[in-house]
């Protein structure tokens, strides 16, 4: 069971992530229970997986969320994988999933997910943050929750507030 942060709280979680997105995996038997598969697997086995209620899909930075457009309403979980924390494509994917595609299920950041990016990840629409196993001790993970609240009133519109600061509050002239 993985420890992760969902909606600002530490929880344990039983979703399994099928990380390999080799072509071969499309033919593999998937583990039983709740599972997050790569986009390639989803696309190859869409009919089979759509019938399985506990399937989530993860996107890589280079993936196009458009490929999930027809499944957005059905999916309860979409994950975005950060192969490196410094690869910022996942932030734009999260933004697109939440705004353009109106995805309202769980949006999870996986891969190299670090405490110092929690605030930005949350503001782009991720509600679940799953750092790599072993990166943080339990105590560090507990302490990391503070980073979610690094900025109280940011300037930009985002997942936290649909409007930028200048529309939200009356600012002093």
């Amino acid at each position: 069971m993985a420890k992760l942060i969902r909606n600002g709280r530490l929880v344990t979680d039983d979703w399994q992530i099928v990380l390999s997105n080799d072509a071969a995996v499309t033919a593999l038997a998937l583990p039983t229970g709740r599972v997050i598969v790569p986009l390639a697997t989803w696309r190859a086995r869409r009919d089979e997986l759509r019938a399985r209620p506990d399937t989530g899909v993860w996107l890589d930075g280079a993936d196009d969320p458009e490929d999930l457009a027809d499944d957005i309403d059905r999916l309860t979980l979409i994950a975005v994988r950060f192969s490196k924390f410094s690869d910022g494509r996942g932030y734009s994917l999260a933004h697109l999933l939440r705004s353009r595609f109106q995805f309202s299920g769980e949006l999870r950041a996986i891969g190299e997910v670090l405490r110092d990016q929690f605030n930005y990840l949350k503001r782009c629409g991720f509600d679940t943050l799953q750092p790599q196993e072993g990166r943080y001790t339990d105590a560090q993970l507990e302490a990391s929750l503070a980073s979610l609240a690094d900025f109280t009133n940011p300037y930009q519109a985002g997942a936290i507030s649909a409007s930028p600061l200048f529309r939200l509050v009356r600012r002093a002239a």
Partner: protein
């Protein structure tokens, strides 16, 4: 100038607290070098040759006297008593310790300053015209728009890990003084036929390893859509800019690879979904920010001051300074004064703590307490009464900031080079000082007239060598410093990338080469023609021939 409200202050204070904790965790071994690097860079902190270097943002080049005094305090307390003003209107401190940086940031926050996003692969400090609000050729004051962009880009959650750095410049005058054609986004403020304010938008310009002039992506974007249009550009770039090769990661490479038309199509498709959405600017917000940039309390002054006329006639040194370092102001009886940091015994852009305090004092006494920083690494007092010029000049001269050379050969731009910078392949400052020494004689300097000499110590081009009338680029060849020379580059409305004249020169020959280029100009110039005009008229040929005449043994030449 803009004054923070509680929200601006809170954001900067929270940023300080965040970095304090990040530094603590780094020093405690909880953050790896790789994890800490982008965090410190996005707070302006480089690990450099001698010590960390801290780059502090001076948004669109505007400072108050109080802020400048704080910079002097920081220079004295945490550094070695000076700071270096950069070509992007920032200031760098070369000698702070890593442990002291959170404290420095806290000091800066007390005067509404920060080092947010002065480095890293994110949206950098917004730069603009140092003469905003005072130049006669201004169409629209760029400063409110710069401030709106500063807020929008600060801690933007989606664009903190772009493929590479991203620079935005804003110009609002007939003459572009913000180098908008050499920025990732260049914004040119203008009016449409109905008199409404908007932006011509250029994209994909930049210097560095692959110099490119920006291309027009939109002829006119109405002001309401400034932020959504920029957001669309950034999102397309963030998703599709190259991440496999650091040297091909700037937006210019993407724009060139797919072509400006295809790039525009993608941006317009993205923009169509954002246009008129919540990030659309409101008149109320623009008015709120603009209210911070109203004219200072100018007096009604006569056009000419009788005493001034006498001083100009009687004091040759003052007259020479007034001719070069004082510019016309849009307001009668006022003048724009440029303080030159360019002397043969100082690095271009370096200003001591004592000088900063003197400048702050002059700003208070003569210029409404405001100072501007230029990308040519000089400082400007923008609102000086002409009647005060003579008194001011005496003080400026005593402080070593009155070299009458603005726009002349010794007013050159130079990055810190390998003396300080880790990226540098070669030294910049000694070459700059040697050129200044060569053209030290004032009569010669004035006879040569307007010429821009720009020096970069490596291909990253912080010294803007590509757009120098003469550009000098330091290169390393088997551990030896060589300098590649270009001519014909230019900033402004006719921005151009200079052309390499031939094989690079060893350090002890590059100043001779520059002198020969100038000699060539003096021989060929028509009356009234500047160096750049002659290069444009006759081409590189004669310059090249003379530059390489009488060179030392061929063995010292390097190829390329």
């Amino acid at each position: 100038m803009y004054q923070y409200d509680q929200y601006d202050q809170q954001i900067v204070d929270e940023r300080v607290a965040q970095f304090l904790d990040q530094t603590r965790r780094y020093l405690a071994g909880e953050l790896s070098e790789d994890e800490f690097r982008p965090l410190r860079l996005q707070n302006g902190l480089y690990i450099q040759r001698h010590a960390p270097m801290l780059r502090v943002a001076i948004p669109y080049g505007l400072l108050s006297s109080r802020q400048l005094r704080k910079l002097a305090y920081i220079a004295r307390t945490y550094d070695r008593g000076y700071g270096h003003f950069t070509t992007r209107q920032n200031i760098q401190f070369n000698w702070p310790t890593l442990e002291s940086v959170p404290e420095i940031l806290a000091e800066l926050a007390t005067v509404q300053m920060h080092a947010i996003q002065t480095s890293g692969n994110c949206i950098r400090n917004i730069t603009s015209d140092p003469l905003a609000g005072v130049a006669g050729d201004e169409r629209v004051d760029p400063r409110p728009w710069c401030e709106i962009l500063r807020q929008w880009s600060s801690l933007h959650p989606e664009f903190a890990f772009l493929p590479r750095k991203f620079k935005i410049a804003v110009n609002g005058a007939a003459s572009d003084r913000a180098l908008t054609q050499a920025h990732d986004i260049g914004l040119d403020l203008k009016h449409d036929e109905a008199g409404k304010v908007g932006f011509r938008v250029l994209v994909g310009g930049g210097l560095g390893r692959t110099p490119v002039i920006g291309k027009e992506i939109a002829a006119f974007v109405p002001w309401q859509h400034l932020l959504t249009y920029c957001e669309a550009i950034l999102r397309v770039y963030n998703r599709f800019g190259r991440r496999d090769n650091l040297y091909k990661a700037r937006i210019k490479i993407l724009v060139n690879a797919i072509g400006i038309d295809a790039f525009r199509e993608q941006v317009e498709a993205e923009w169509a979904r954002l246009k008129d959405g919540p990030s659309t600017l409101t008149a109320a917000e623009v008015d709120r920010v603009s209210a911070h940039f109203i004219e200072p309390g100018y007096e009604n002054l006569p056009d000419e001051d009788l005493c001034l006329r006498h001083h100009l006639a009687d004091d040759k040194a003052f007259a020479a300074w007034a001719r070069r370092n004082v510019r016309a102001h849009k307001r009668r009886g006022y003048a724009i004064v440029t303080l030159s940091t360019k002397r043969r015994d100082a690095a271009p852009g370096d200003v001591t703590a004592e000088q900063m305090e003197r400048i702050a004092g002059w700003a208070d006494e003569f210029s409404f307490g405001r100072i501007r920083v230029t990308h040519e690494q000089n400082l400007v007092l923008a609102d000086v009464r002409r009647a005060d010029l003579y008194v001011l000049w005496h003080q400026v001269r005593a402080a070593g900031l009155a070299t009458p050379n603005i726009g002349l050969a010794s007013d050159l731009i130079a990055c810190p080079g390998s003396d300080f910078c880790n990226l540098g392949n070669a030294r910049s400052i000694p070459i700059a000082n040697a050129i200044q020494e060569r053209f030290d004689d004032l009569d010669t300097l004035h006879d040569i007239g307007e010429i821009e000499i720009n020096i970069s110590g490596c291909v990253n081009a912080c010294g803007h060598h590509h757009v120098g009338h003469i550009g000098i680029l330091g290169v390393d060849k088997n551990g030896e410093e060589f300098y590649q020379v270009t001519i014909g580059g230019a900033q402004g409305n006719r921005t151009a990338i200079g052309q390499v004249i031939g094989p690079s020169f060893p350090a002890d020959e590059v100043v001779d080469a520059v002198e020969r280029l100038v000699e060539t100009y003096l021989v060929h110039r028509n009356s009234g023609e500047r160096f750049i005009d002659t290069v444009r008229r006759i081409g590189v040929g004669s310059f090249r021939t003379h530059a390489y005449s009488g060179r030392q043994a061929e063995g010292k030449q390097a190829n390329g």
